[in-house]
Amino acid sequence: MRIRKLRMIAPVLAAGLILAACAGDEEVPDETPDDTTEEPAEEPDDDADDDAADDMDDAADGDLAGTAVTVFGPESSENEAGSMQDMLNAFAEANDMTISYTGARDFSDQIGAQAEGGNPPDIAIFPQPGRVVDFGEQGFTLPIPQDVLDTITPQWPEGTNAAYEAGGETWGLQNKTDLKSILWYNNQIFADGGYDVPDTWDGLKDLSDEMIADGVTPWCVGIESGPATGWVFTDWMEELVLRLEDEDVYDQWVAGEVEFSDDRIVAIGQEILDLWNTPGAVFAAGGSIASTPFGDNGGPLVNGDCAMHRQANFFAAFLPEGTSVGPDGELDVAYFPAAGDGREPVLTAGTAAAAFRDAPEVWAVIEYLASAEGTTERQRAQAARVALDAGDEDPPPSGYMSSNLEQDLSVYSELEQSFVEILQQAAPARFDASDMMPGAVGAGSFWTEGTSAVNGDKSIEEAFEAIDATWPD
């Protein structure tokens, strides 16, 4: 564990000494190094391994009885947060412990404040690998013990947790995998207009133009998302970099080796804006794309205000209650078209759990979250909730998914099983780029400058140059 230099305590202590000196002749100077620079956990490494090793075995015997674990994450809708709690309750009841989940839409903001304030949850579910590593390297979270890794790693496709590794440690375990490359479309409009889901990006652009000519608004787009406004645009960028360029360019782009102002990246940004800015192409429920909340696109898509929407599998959680999805439903889904060069790349995202407290019960819950039992239980709970909402209709996808290889696939619908198989076998599959870029870009300028470009405040060149300027050296 690295101990930082304590230079800053000097002036503070000096002030303290002066106060002490003024107070009376016989005050003894206070030479305490300031606790503000103290690392929260001083010796987690060794103990963590031993304790967790012992207690993981005990978990089944009920040695966790009476313990309590708090979990905090970004999933806050009733279905998502509710089924998360259901899943945790199943484990808690089996072990006679309590686990409470709290979800907040502005998790990304709050977790930083909580960690800084020394008041973090036991477990945080991070949506961004970059931040998992950041928190680990800053000493807030603890590395995953080896025995937990030994149990979990074989259960997931190779390299799943690579994004959470740094400095020889793994700082988080993936517990949810999102498939982003999905095109949602309105069955009725496609049937009425005789449209077919295109196989290629060019085909998709042609279809868009055809629909405009027919008086149909092809797209629903909205990129507003509170503090994270702009991430929908970054998703589109990532899909197209992965498709129109290739994985190598994508990786270099993530690493900062291919700049945003690179002609290839600018061209892709322009491609998206051209598509969106074509008159009549986009239905924006909030008046403009940049001021439409991303979750507000479900209603218009089902109502037929627009024909298509590109969003990850969790979009199901934002559909109006009772929406059916499938070949005979109101909406259907398809693979977001690729370039047509034979590659069918997949963009993924996901959440990973990281621990702030070193205790056997915490490691037991972390392991459970990523385990086949846990992900199966989560999907069972979420599918049940969605089915309840859907009533007699075919339920839409639950919104949860994981690529755990050992999970029970029978809890997924046929449609979801096809998604899961894509995820389990996808090649090339890439994790969401903005989540892996440095925070100043991935959670900063890529969002804000992207929003400026979409809103027309800046040209795409200006916006992308501004992003490059914020890339940390």
Binding site: D25, E26, S288, D305, T451
Partner: protein, 801 residues
């Protein structure tokens, strides 16, 4: 002075009552304790002894206090019974809640602990300094014990120091044993210091004792806190400290040697523990660090002169003051001073607070074009707002020429040149505006001319006004025109100077001026009017709404929907409805209505001019012009939110209030400010209204006798009287606005060119995880607020003296 002594001189009756009270308390305590135990068994609770004791105290204490209030209450018997019964009931409810609810139990226990600890510390501190008068040796010993316990306790608590036996959590517990050992040792040093008389001996004893105590402390340093001593720092820092303190001592006329030793101790502390990295050193280095420090501190104490009765009394007096002030000072230090210093320090570090990077974070902030954007300054002079400014300025100045009163002080050349110049400026600006493609070109020659002319006119107008303070000719219409011109000049700047920093400045200017101005106007106009209190209550009402709540309300009012859907935002449904009205058969009647209004105003203007009331005349003209313009827009159908589609059909064209683009985007800021103004106008109104009512009526009467007009009474009597209050309102609003965060965070989150410092700070520190940059922005915000606070405090001081 605090008297801690037994009450004497009690009467027999009082004594008997006291005994009765104590017996009652003991009985009740026992009953309550037993009841808690029974409750524990019957309710299936899990209580520890401590919880039962506190429960007994709550129950018994509450009942005794209630009964005591019965005896001392001055009220009638019925009320006394009621009050006492209520007291007993609430004590029992608290007692029950305490036993059954974990949260209540935890809260009550914390409160009890806090009160007991505070009381003990307070009494003990006073007793400690009682000793300084009564028994110097005891005081010295006590001081040693307390100092040793404090230092070692903090070090153990911070895990800098500990016993290296055992493992895991037990380690910390057993390490507390170090505290009494070191405390006793330091106490012994304290006694030794009083035992030895005479200078060399005392200094030697002090230094030796300090060194031993330091040695003991250093020997138990934990591995994570061992300093890797750097010889240069270790030498330089104490020398520097000694020199600095010796110099200060010289200046303050104190003995130099003790001061130098104090400085050396400071320097050694910084050199040994502040500069080197902790955790890389050895135990020997830690012992060197602590024992030399201990020796220096001991030496300093040994060097202090023999305590005389006089100095002891002085010390005792000083100590009492400190004991009383300490809690408040500690609280301020913990919540204000230390965070401020720490933020300043963090702003010099990298994103994780690790490496020192100097001013790089500030450079990063200013290097961001979104932070400080003046690239479009030349566009100011070709903007629509600037065109309007020049035209109104010309009109206003011409008006000034015609409304002057005293011809003998007529000074035509300068004012005429100014007027002519502004007409010319209007011409140039309008040509520039008309020829500039999309208002975005940078016509250098025109811009240059416009700037020169603008400055020239301003200088001449100011000199004219200075030369003729009583005859500015500025009143009524011309005053209105010049004010309007300034507003448009502001808007011209506002739409072209962009970025976080400028946004904050615009917030300060616009919100402060509008909220104060409107508040003052309402306060003055409603003063004594019918229904005044009701109107004021309504206007003050928004003050009760939180910023977040107001932001959400206004966001709903601003919301835009796609053209194909109905507009759900109030403002956009009005705007689109207006467009539909202007393009329907009703447009002509509406226009006629407007023109009738204009006609009425023209008549009013004529009457004003003819009767010599120039203010009414010009005011009516200025009101009539925009109305006539709006009326004509109805005739052409060019008003409201509709556009024509390709097939000639009408399409709704809502305003994107919060996400407008480019030049229009500057107004996104303004629409976020509106709710803020909405809230703070009430605040300004209430305070200013109270001030206006406080203006002495004899002043008003005197001005009535002098034949002052209403506007003269207001501007020359009331306003100067309430000027200090206006100052308070203005500075309060400025400081509040400077820190604006919630409105922006809720309404746009800083997108669409509406970022402000506070929101940028939050984003940088917590969303992007760059603590250094967040701190740097916080420091800038602090520096911006500082001068205003300074002015405010200075004025308050002036008013007190």
């Amino acid at each position: 002075m605090v008297q801690v002594s037994l009450p004497t001189g009690l009467t027999e009756q009082q004594r008997r009552r006291g005994v009765q009270a104590v017996v009652l308390l003991v009985v009740l305590l026992s009953v309550s304790y037993v009841a808690a135990t029974v409750a524990e068994r019957d309710l299936g609770l899990l209580l520890d002894t401590w919880s039962r004791v506190v429960a007994a105290i709550i129950g018994a204490g509450g009942v005794v206090a209630s009964l005591a209030s019965w005896r001392s209450s001055p009220h009638s018997t019925a009320r006394r019974i009621t009050i006492t019964a209520l007291g007993i009931a609430s004590a029992l409810v608290l007692w029950y809640l305490y036993l059954t609810d974990v949260l209540v139990r935890a809260t009550v226990q914390s409160v009890v602990i806090a009160i007991v600890v505070s009381a003990v510390v307070f009494v003990a501190a006073n007793k400690w300094f009682d000793a300084s008068l009564k028994d110097w040796r005891r005081f010295s010993a006590l001081t040693g014990v307390i100092g040793g316990a404090a230092v070692s306790g903090l070090l153990v608590g911070n895990r800098n120091m500990g016993l290296f036996t055992g493992s895991g959590e037990a380690l910390a517990d057993r390490s507390l044993l170090l505290v009494p050992v070191i405390a006793v040792l330091c106490g012994a040093v304290g006694i030794a210091l009083t035992a030895v008389k005479g200078q060399p001996g005392k200094a030697i004893v002090g230094a030796a004792g300090g060194a031993v105590a330091g040695l003991l402390i250093g020997a138990f340093f934990r591995s994570g806190s061992l300093p890797a001593l750097e010889p240069v720092a270790l030498l330089a820092a104490p020398l520097l400290g000694a020199a600095l303190f010796a110099g200060l001592g010289q200046v303050r006329g104190r003995p130099i040697v003790p001061a130098a030793v104090t400085g050396a101790a400071f320097g050694w502390l910084i050199g040994a523990f502040g500069i080197p990295s902790l955790g890389d050193g050895s135990v020997i280095e830690a012992i060197i660090g602590t024992s030399v420090l201990g020796a220096l501190v001991g030496l300093r104490l040994g060097l202090s002169p023999e305590a005389t009765m006089e100095s002891r009394i002085r010390l005792e007096r000083k100590a009492r003051a400190v004991i009383f002030l300490a809690p408040a000072l500690l609280f301020i230090a913990a919540t204000l001073v230390i965070p401020t210093i720490r933020t300043m320090w963090l702003s010099l570090l990298d994103r994780t607070g690790g490496e020192f990077v100097g001013l790089d974070q500030y450079r990063l902030a200013f290097g961001d074009p979104n932070f400080y954007d003046v690239r479009r300054w030349a566009d100011i002079f070709v903007s629509f707002e600037f065109l309007v400014f020049t035209i109104i300025l010309a009109v206003g100045l011409i008006t000034v020429l015609f409304t002057r009163k005293q011809i003998d002080q007529f000074w035509p050349p300068r004012l005429s040149i100014a007027t002519g110049g502004s007409v010319l400026l209007a011409g140039i600006a309008s040509i520039g505006w008309a020829t500039a493609p999309e208002q975005a070109a940078t016509p250098t020659v025109l811009t240059f001319l416009a700037i020169v002319l603008l400055l020239g006119i301003l200088v001449m107008v100011i000199r004219y006004l200075k030369a003729h303070p009583g005859n500015s000719g500025i009143s009524g219409g011309s005053g209105m025109a010049l004010t309007l011109a300034m507003i448009f000049l502001g808007l011209a700047l506002f739409t072209n100077l962009r970025g976080t920093l400028f946004n904050n400045i615009w917030w300060v200017f616009l919100v402060t001026i509008v909220a104060t101005g409107v508040g003052l106007a309402i306060a003055a106009l409603s003063d004594g009017a019918k229904g005044e209190s009701f109107a004021k209550a309504m206007i003050f009402m928004p003050m009760a709404i939180s910023f977040v709540g107001a932001s959400i309300i206004w966001r709903f009012m601003y919301i835009a929907r796609p053209p194909t859907n109905d507009q759900t935002g109030v403002l956009n449904s009005l705007w689109v409805g207006l467009g539909q009205l202007a393009n329907s058969g009703a447009a002509v009647p509406v226009a006629i209505g407007f023109f009738l209004l204009v006609g009425g105003l023209v008549l009013l203007a004529l009457r004003g001019f003819l009767s010599g009331a120039m203010g009414i005349g010009w005011g009516s003209v200025f009101a009539a012009l925009p109305l006539a313009w709006i009326g004509s827009l109805f005739l052409t159908g060019n008003i409201g939110g509709v556009t024509e589609g390709p097939g000639g059909q009408l399409i709704a064209d809502p305003i994107l209030f919060l996400s407008g683009t480019n030049q229009v985007g500057a107004y996104n800021n303004f629409f976020i400010m509106v709710p803020f103004i909405w809230i703070y106008t009430g605040f300004a109104m209430v305070i200013l209204s109270a001030a206006i009512k406080g203006v002495p009526s004899d002043l008003i009467d005197a001005s009535n006798v002098d034949g002052a007009t209403e506007s003269q009474k207001f501007w020359r009597v009331v306003v100067p009287q309430i000027a200090p209050t206006i100052g308070v309102v203005v500075t309060t609003i400025i400081v509040t606005v400077m820190k604006v965060f919630d409105m922006v965070a809720v309404m746009t989150n800083g997108n669409f060119g509406t970022e402000v410092l506070a929101n940028a700070m939050w984003k940088a520190a917590f969303t992007q995880g760059n603590r250094g940059l967040g701190s740097a922005i916080a420091v800038m915000l602090f520096l911006l607020v500082l001068p205003i606070m300074f002015v405010n405090i200075r004025r308050m001081q002036k008013e007190f003296h």
